[in-house]
């Protein structure tokens, strides 16, 4: 009775990728995260085109069937937008501005280099901790309102209750940081995530993502491509040196990685194992998660978001 009354409701992380939907449901159990459900479903060809959902009806049908099979009707869900559909940036504003003043400053920054009308965009912003200069940095993210509305409608019609719309690279990084939480608090690190024939390289520090690149995976060129992007980053940011490379992918691809060098020095390559940090409920296919947990990194990162009451 007590657990039913005071248990935190679970948030469902839904990763919609071209060709596949993945779902992770977490629960907090004895101050640890426990995976209560993992599931995946193939999407028919034609739902996505150029990394963007174009067949909303088809996606809704597949999603509704998926929700029905998983018995998650009316569950609160977090979903992500691909990074190429969201513009993120930072602006400097005087400290102590109201919400409306910050939004006006953000709209001013957007208008300077965009032709979208104000009503057609959806924004969110986070004020970063200020220093003594009297100015604080505001991080903002902007996406097309029309695409967001279609995604929300699609989820609602499929029986889900969208609570959070995140950005994929932040959700991926959240899960990776959770898996290796103690080691990432200082310095600059890189995360290489391989999933569904796509490679994603995220270079980040404790505060923000510094560099992000995504490309179609070629198994024979993994090492060279990653090294090329690391060199590119080092050239662009000579003061910031990548100290470690976190790898999240299949062991086969891990074997393809050889020595990585940044500014002439080799860096550590470490594997991220999400399964080591999370308990798995007894009814969940434990072996499946331990073998393919790198596939569920984004869905886990979405499910790790705090479920707010509003």
């Amino acid at each position: 009775m007590k657990s039913a009354l005071f248990r935190k409701p679970a948030l469902v992380g839904l990763d919609i990728q071209p060709g596949k939907i993945r779902l992770v449901q977490l629960a907090i159990f004895k101050s640890h995260y426990r995976i209560d459900r993992i599931a995946r479903r193939d999407l028919p060809v034609g739902v996505f085109r150029d990394g963007v959902i174009c067949d909303w009806g088809g996606l809704q049908q597949e999603l509704a069937a998926f929700v029905s099979v998983c018995d998650l009707t009316s569950a609160a869900a977090a979903v992500s937008l691909p990074s190429h559909l969201v513009r993120t940036d930072h602006i400097q504003v005087p400290t102590g501005l109201s919400r409306q003043e910050k939004e006006a400053a953000i709209w001013g920054a957007i208008k300077a280099d965009a032709s979208h009308p104000k009503a057609a965009l959806s924004i969110d912003f986070v004020e970063l901790p200020a220093d003594d200069s009297g100015y604080s940095s505001v991080f903002f993210a902007v996406a097309q309102e029309a695409y967001l509305t279609k995604l929300i409608d699609c989820m609602k019609r499929a029986g889900l209750f969208p609570k959070i719309i995140d950005i994929d690279r932040y959700a991926t990084l959240r899960a990776a940081s959770f898996a290796r939480q103690a080691q990432l608090s200082d310095g600059t690190s890189a995360l290489l995530h391989l999933c569904d024939g796509t490679a994603s390289l995220i270079i980040f520090n404790a505060d923000d993502i510094l560099f992000h690149q995504q490309w179609l995976l070629d198994e024979h060129l993994i090492n060279e491509t990653v090294q090329r992007y690391l060199d590119f980053y080092s050239t662009m940011h000579p003061a910031s040196s990548v100290q470690r490379l976190l790898f999240c992918g299949s062991p086969l691809h891990y074997g393809c990685l050889r020595e990585m060098r940044v500014n002439g020095q080799s860096i550590f390559i470490e594997s991220v194992d999400l399964a080591s940090q999370m308990h798995v409920a007894t009814h969940v296919n434990d072996e499946d998660f331990h073998t393919f947990n790198f596939d569920y990194l984004l869905a886990c990162g979405l499910a790790l978001r705090e479920l707010t009451p509003w």
Partner: protein
Amino acid sequence: MVNVNLLPWRDAQYRYQSRQLKRYFLASLILPFMAMTIWYIRLQNESEPLREKLNGLNERWSAYRTAGPSEAQVHQEEVRCAKIQLIKQTNRKLRQFFMSFSSEASQTVCFTRVMYHGRDFIFQGRTQSSYALTDFLKHWHTSSLFSEIKLQQLIKSKQNESMQFQLKANL
């Protein structure tokens, strides 16, 4: 690391907080009202039997005031008053008897025992002769307290010349 939510969550948060505020305000109004209502109902339930009892008593009092006491009650009251009067009279006579009895002395009559039961006195004693006893009774002031004095026994003693007597008197 920043947490982004592209849904209009700030508006939703504002609406949620407004709803919560309204709920707390309503609760602050409704809860005291409910508590007072429950308290009132409880007091009503407790006072209802007392009120009924009071109404019964009032009805009986009104009926008593309008109808007055019954004949049996009047007779019972008269009997009770008569008994009280009798007890008072008896007590007064007893007090007079003991005061006068101790003050009168006789050379010819000697009381040896006085018994008292209800309103009857039994006097036992000795006398020199029946004449002496008759003379004593004529002049005995205490005899005025009694309604009747009977000589029950007068026996000549064998050892000496005196006579033993027993008188019965009613107060």
